[in-house]
Symmetry: C2
Subunit: 111 residues, 2 copies
DNA sequence: TCATTAGTTCCGAATTTTAGAACCATGAAA
DNA sequence: TTTCATGGTTCTAAAATTCGGAACTAATGA
Protein backbone atom coordinates (compact mmCIF):
# COMPACT_ATOMS: atom_id res chain seq x y z
CA UNK A 1 0.00 0.00 0.00
CA UNK A 2 1.38 3.35 -1.03
CA UNK A 3 1.48 6.15 1.49
CA UNK A 4 -1.68 8.20 1.49
CA UNK A 5 -1.49 11.47 -0.39
CA UNK A 6 -2.73 14.57 1.35
CA UNK A 7 -2.45 17.74 -0.74
CA UNK A 8 -0.92 20.77 0.99
CA UNK A 9 -3.44 23.49 1.78
CA UNK A 10 -2.26 25.74 -1.05
CA UNK A 11 -3.06 23.06 -3.62
CA UNK A 12 -6.65 22.63 -2.49
CA UNK A 13 -9.23 24.25 -4.75
CA UNK A 14 -12.88 25.26 -4.55
CA UNK A 15 -13.57 23.15 -7.66
CA UNK A 16 -11.94 20.10 -6.09
CA UNK A 17 -13.95 20.50 -2.91
CA UNK A 18 -17.23 20.94 -4.79
CA UNK A 19 -16.49 17.91 -6.94
CA UNK A 20 -15.87 15.83 -3.81
CA UNK A 21 -19.13 17.08 -2.33
CA UNK A 22 -21.11 16.31 -5.48
CA UNK A 23 -21.73 12.74 -4.35
CA UNK A 24 -24.38 12.45 -1.63
CA UNK A 25 -22.51 9.60 0.04
CA UNK A 26 -19.31 11.62 0.27
CA UNK A 27 -21.19 14.66 1.54
CA UNK A 28 -22.79 12.55 4.25
CA UNK A 29 -19.46 10.98 5.24
CA UNK A 30 -17.74 14.33 5.43
CA UNK A 31 -20.46 16.00 7.47
CA UNK A 32 -20.67 13.04 9.79
CA UNK A 33 -16.92 13.29 10.39
CA UNK A 34 -17.17 17.05 10.83
CA UNK A 35 -19.82 16.93 13.51
CA UNK A 36 -18.45 13.83 15.25
CA UNK A 37 -16.38 14.48 18.33
CA UNK A 38 -13.91 11.77 17.37
CA UNK A 39 -12.16 10.42 14.28
CA UNK A 40 -13.67 7.33 12.63
CA UNK A 41 -12.41 4.49 10.49
CA UNK A 42 -13.74 3.84 6.97
CA UNK A 43 -15.89 0.86 7.77
CA UNK A 44 -17.87 2.96 10.24
CA UNK A 45 -19.63 4.11 7.06
CA UNK A 46 -20.22 0.69 5.51
CA UNK A 47 -23.94 1.32 5.84
CA UNK A 48 -24.95 4.81 4.87
CA UNK A 49 -28.16 6.37 3.58
CA UNK A 50 -30.05 3.13 4.00
CA UNK A 51 -27.76 0.97 1.94
CA UNK A 52 -24.62 -1.07 2.40
CA UNK A 53 -21.68 -0.08 0.24
CA UNK A 54 -19.03 -2.55 -0.88
CA UNK A 55 -15.69 -1.70 0.63
CA UNK A 56 -14.04 -1.00 -2.72
CA UNK A 57 -16.58 1.75 -3.32
CA UNK A 58 -16.15 3.13 0.17
CA UNK A 59 -12.38 3.13 -0.30
CA UNK A 60 -12.75 5.20 -3.48
CA UNK A 61 -14.99 7.72 -1.74
CA UNK A 62 -12.46 8.20 1.04
CA UNK A 63 -9.71 8.63 -1.50
CA UNK A 64 -11.67 11.36 -3.30
CA UNK A 65 -12.31 13.21 -0.03
CA UNK A 66 -8.66 12.84 0.96
CA UNK A 67 -7.24 13.98 -2.38
CA UNK A 68 -9.60 16.94 -2.48
CA UNK A 69 -7.95 17.98 0.79
CA UNK A 70 -11.07 17.59 2.89
CA UNK A 71 -10.01 14.82 5.24
CA UNK A 72 -6.87 13.44 6.80
CA UNK A 73 -6.47 9.66 7.07
CA UNK A 74 -3.91 8.05 9.34
CA UNK A 75 -3.13 4.41 9.68
CA UNK A 76 -3.61 3.08 13.18
CA UNK A 77 -2.92 -0.61 13.33
CA UNK A 78 -4.96 -2.36 10.72
CA UNK A 79 -7.38 0.48 10.22
CA UNK A 80 -7.45 4.02 8.91
CA UNK A 81 -8.72 6.77 11.11
CA UNK A 82 -10.26 9.73 9.36
CA UNK A 83 -10.80 13.27 10.49
CA UNK A 84 -11.63 16.51 8.73
CA UNK A 85 -9.11 19.22 7.88
CA UNK A 86 -11.78 21.80 8.69
CA UNK A 87 -9.59 24.01 10.85
CA UNK A 88 -6.77 24.12 8.28
CA UNK A 89 -9.18 25.03 5.51
CA UNK A 90 -10.93 27.79 7.36
CA UNK A 91 -8.20 30.31 6.59
CA UNK A 92 -8.34 29.58 2.87
CA UNK A 93 -12.02 28.92 2.25
CA UNK A 94 -13.61 31.08 4.88
CA UNK A 95 -17.14 30.22 5.81
CA UNK A 96 -17.80 27.99 2.81
CA UNK A 97 -17.45 24.59 4.39
CA UNK A 98 -19.26 25.51 7.57
CA UNK A 99 -22.06 27.07 5.52
CA UNK A 100 -22.45 23.82 3.56
CA UNK A 101 -22.56 21.80 6.77
CA UNK A 102 -25.17 24.11 8.22
CA UNK A 103 -27.35 24.17 5.12
CA UNK A 104 -27.29 20.37 5.01
CA UNK A 105 -28.08 20.06 8.72
CA UNK A 106 -30.99 22.46 8.37
CA UNK A 107 -32.34 20.52 5.42
CA UNK A 108 -32.09 17.18 7.24
CA UNK A 109 -33.89 18.38 10.32
CA UNK A 110 -36.68 19.69 8.11
CA UNK A 111 -37.36 16.15 6.83
CA UNK B 1 -39.40 22.90 -27.17
CA UNK B 2 -41.00 21.96 -23.89
CA UNK B 3 -41.53 24.67 -21.31
CA UNK B 4 -38.54 25.08 -19.07
CA UNK B 5 -38.82 23.40 -15.69
CA UNK B 6 -37.93 25.41 -12.62
CA UNK B 7 -38.28 23.52 -9.35
CA UNK B 8 -40.12 25.32 -6.55
CA UNK B 9 -37.85 26.45 -3.72
CA UNK B 10 -38.99 23.69 -1.39
CA UNK B 11 -37.82 21.02 -3.81
CA UNK B 12 -34.30 22.39 -4.13
CA UNK B 13 -31.68 20.41 -2.19
CA UNK B 14 -28.13 20.94 -0.97
CA UNK B 15 -27.10 17.76 -2.82
CA UNK B 16 -28.61 19.03 -6.06
CA UNK B 17 -26.85 22.37 -5.75
CA UNK B 18 -23.50 20.77 -4.98
CA UNK B 19 -23.88 18.39 -7.91
CA UNK B 20 -24.58 21.32 -10.23
CA UNK B 21 -21.52 23.11 -8.88
CA UNK B 22 -19.27 20.07 -9.32
CA UNK B 23 -18.48 21.03 -12.89
CA UNK B 24 -16.01 23.92 -13.21
CA UNK B 25 -17.81 25.28 -16.27
CA UNK B 26 -21.15 25.38 -14.47
CA UNK B 27 -19.57 26.97 -11.41
CA UNK B 28 -18.03 29.66 -13.58
CA UNK B 29 -21.29 30.30 -15.42
CA UNK B 30 -23.26 30.56 -12.20
CA UNK B 31 -20.79 32.88 -10.50
CA UNK B 32 -20.55 35.04 -13.59
CA UNK B 33 -24.34 35.37 -13.60
CA UNK B 34 -24.36 36.04 -9.86
CA UNK B 35 -21.90 38.89 -9.99
CA UNK B 36 -23.19 40.35 -13.27
CA UNK B 37 -25.51 43.28 -12.92
CA UNK B 38 -27.74 42.00 -15.73
CA UNK B 39 -29.16 38.72 -17.00
CA UNK B 40 -27.36 37.01 -19.88
CA UNK B 41 -28.25 34.63 -22.65
CA UNK B 42 -26.64 31.19 -23.01
CA UNK B 43 -24.34 31.98 -25.88
CA UNK B 44 -22.69 34.70 -23.82
CA UNK B 45 -20.80 31.74 -22.37
CA UNK B 46 -19.85 30.04 -25.62
CA UNK B 47 -16.22 30.69 -24.79
CA UNK B 48 -15.39 29.99 -21.18
CA UNK B 49 -12.22 29.07 -19.35
CA UNK B 50 -10.15 29.45 -22.47
CA UNK B 51 -12.13 27.10 -24.65
CA UNK B 52 -15.14 27.17 -26.90
CA UNK B 53 -17.96 24.84 -25.97
CA UNK B 54 -20.34 23.35 -28.52
CA UNK B 55 -23.83 24.65 -27.96
CA UNK B 56 -25.26 21.24 -27.18
CA UNK B 57 -22.91 21.01 -24.21
CA UNK B 58 -23.70 24.54 -23.12
CA UNK B 59 -27.40 23.78 -23.33
CA UNK B 60 -26.97 20.78 -21.04
CA UNK B 61 -25.03 22.85 -18.48
CA UNK B 62 -27.79 25.45 -18.37
CA UNK B 63 -30.37 22.73 -17.94
CA UNK B 64 -28.49 21.25 -14.98
CA UNK B 65 -28.20 24.66 -13.30
CA UNK B 66 -31.87 25.36 -13.97
CA UNK B 67 -33.14 22.01 -12.70
CA UNK B 68 -30.98 22.25 -9.60
CA UNK B 69 -32.92 25.44 -8.88
CA UNK B 70 -29.93 27.73 -9.20
CA UNK B 71 -30.96 29.83 -12.18
CA UNK B 72 -34.10 31.08 -13.86
CA UNK B 73 -34.27 31.08 -17.66
CA UNK B 74 -36.86 33.05 -19.58
CA UNK B 75 -37.42 33.08 -23.26
CA UNK B 76 -37.10 36.49 -24.81
CA UNK B 77 -37.57 36.36 -28.50
CA UNK B 78 -35.20 33.84 -29.96
CA UNK B 79 -32.97 33.72 -26.95
CA UNK B 80 -33.03 32.64 -23.33
CA UNK B 81 -32.12 35.10 -20.64
CA UNK B 82 -30.68 33.65 -17.50
CA UNK B 83 -30.43 35.03 -14.00
CA UNK B 84 -29.70 33.53 -10.61
CA UNK B 85 -32.32 32.66 -8.02
CA UNK B 86 -29.91 33.84 -5.35
CA UNK B 87 -32.38 35.95 -3.40
CA UNK B 88 -35.02 33.20 -3.31
CA UNK B 89 -32.48 30.67 -2.09
CA UNK B 90 -31.05 32.81 0.66
CA UNK B 91 -33.88 31.99 3.04
CA UNK B 92 -33.44 28.26 2.59
CA UNK B 93 -29.70 27.86 2.19
CA UNK B 94 -28.44 30.71 4.26
CA UNK B 95 -24.92 31.82 3.58
CA UNK B 96 -23.93 28.75 1.59
CA UNK B 97 -24.14 30.10 -1.93
CA UNK B 98 -22.59 33.43 -1.10
CA UNK B 99 -19.78 31.67 0.77
CA UNK B 100 -19.05 29.54 -2.31
CA UNK B 101 -19.00 32.63 -4.52
CA UNK B 102 -16.65 34.39 -2.14
CA UNK B 103 -14.29 31.45 -1.76
CA UNK B 104 -14.10 31.12 -5.55
CA UNK B 105 -13.52 34.84 -6.04
CA UNK B 106 -10.75 34.85 -3.45
CA UNK B 107 -9.10 31.89 -5.12
CA UNK B 108 -9.25 33.48 -8.57
CA UNK B 109 -7.73 36.74 -7.46
CA UNK B 110 -4.89 34.81 -5.85
CA UNK B 111 -3.92 33.35 -9.25
C1' DT C 1 -42.03 32.72 -47.79
C1' DC C 2 -37.39 32.28 -46.80
C1' DA C 3 -33.27 33.03 -44.10
C1' DT C 4 -31.09 33.67 -39.76
C1' DT C 5 -30.27 33.16 -35.04
C1' DA C 6 -30.49 30.82 -30.43
C1' DG C 7 -31.13 26.90 -28.31
C1' DT C 8 -32.76 21.78 -27.93
C1' DT C 9 -32.79 16.94 -28.88
C1' DC C 10 -30.88 12.68 -30.53
C1' DC C 11 -27.53 9.38 -30.22
C1' DG C 12 -22.95 7.22 -30.51
C1' DA C 13 -18.34 7.88 -28.45
C1' DA C 14 -15.52 9.03 -24.54
C1' DT C 15 -15.09 9.36 -19.73
C1' DT C 16 -16.18 8.31 -15.03
C1' DT C 17 -18.08 5.49 -11.46
C1' DT C 18 -19.33 1.13 -9.43
C1' DA C 19 -18.44 -3.15 -7.23
C1' DG C 20 -16.78 -8.07 -7.21
C1' DA C 21 -12.49 -10.66 -6.82
C1' DA C 22 -7.99 -10.93 -5.62
C1' DC C 23 -4.69 -8.87 -3.03
C1' DC C 24 -1.73 -6.45 0.77
C1' DA C 25 -0.57 -4.95 5.63
C1' DT C 26 -1.06 -5.14 10.35
C1' DG C 27 -1.75 -7.38 14.68
C1' DA C 28 -2.96 -11.17 17.50
C1' DA C 29 -3.34 -16.05 18.62
C1' DA C 30 -1.43 -20.52 18.50
C1' DT D 1 7.77 -18.37 13.72
C1' DT D 2 3.49 -19.66 11.09
C1' DT D 3 -1.37 -18.85 10.71
C1' DC D 4 -5.51 -16.37 10.83
C1' DA D 5 -8.66 -12.40 10.96
C1' DT D 6 -9.55 -7.75 10.00
C1' DG D 7 -9.52 -3.36 7.39
C1' DG D 8 -8.46 -1.39 3.37
C1' DT D 9 -6.51 -1.21 -1.61
C1' DT D 10 -6.04 -2.45 -6.41
C1' DC D 11 -7.56 -4.44 -10.67
C1' DT D 12 -10.86 -4.62 -14.09
C1' DA D 13 -15.07 -5.16 -16.62
C1' DA D 14 -19.71 -3.48 -16.62
C1' DA D 15 -22.89 0.30 -15.74
C1' DA D 16 -23.83 5.04 -15.73
C1' DT D 17 -22.87 9.65 -17.01
C1' DT D 18 -21.16 13.30 -19.92
C1' DC D 19 -19.69 15.18 -24.33
C1' DG D 20 -20.39 16.90 -28.83
C1' DG D 21 -21.72 16.71 -33.85
C1' DA D 22 -25.83 16.59 -36.74
C1' DA D 23 -30.40 17.37 -37.33
C1' DC D 24 -34.11 19.80 -35.59
C1' DT D 25 -37.40 23.57 -33.60
C1' DA D 26 -39.03 28.12 -32.41
C1' DA D 27 -38.99 33.05 -32.97
C1' DT D 28 -38.01 36.98 -35.76
C1' DG D 29 -37.11 39.88 -39.61
C1' DA D 30 -36.38 40.80 -44.55
Amino acid sequence: MRTLYHPPVEEITVEGILHAFSDPVRLEIYINLAVAECAKNCSAFATIQKRTLPKSTLSQHFRVLREAGLIRSERKGVELINSTRCAELKERFGAMILAIIEAYAKQQQAV
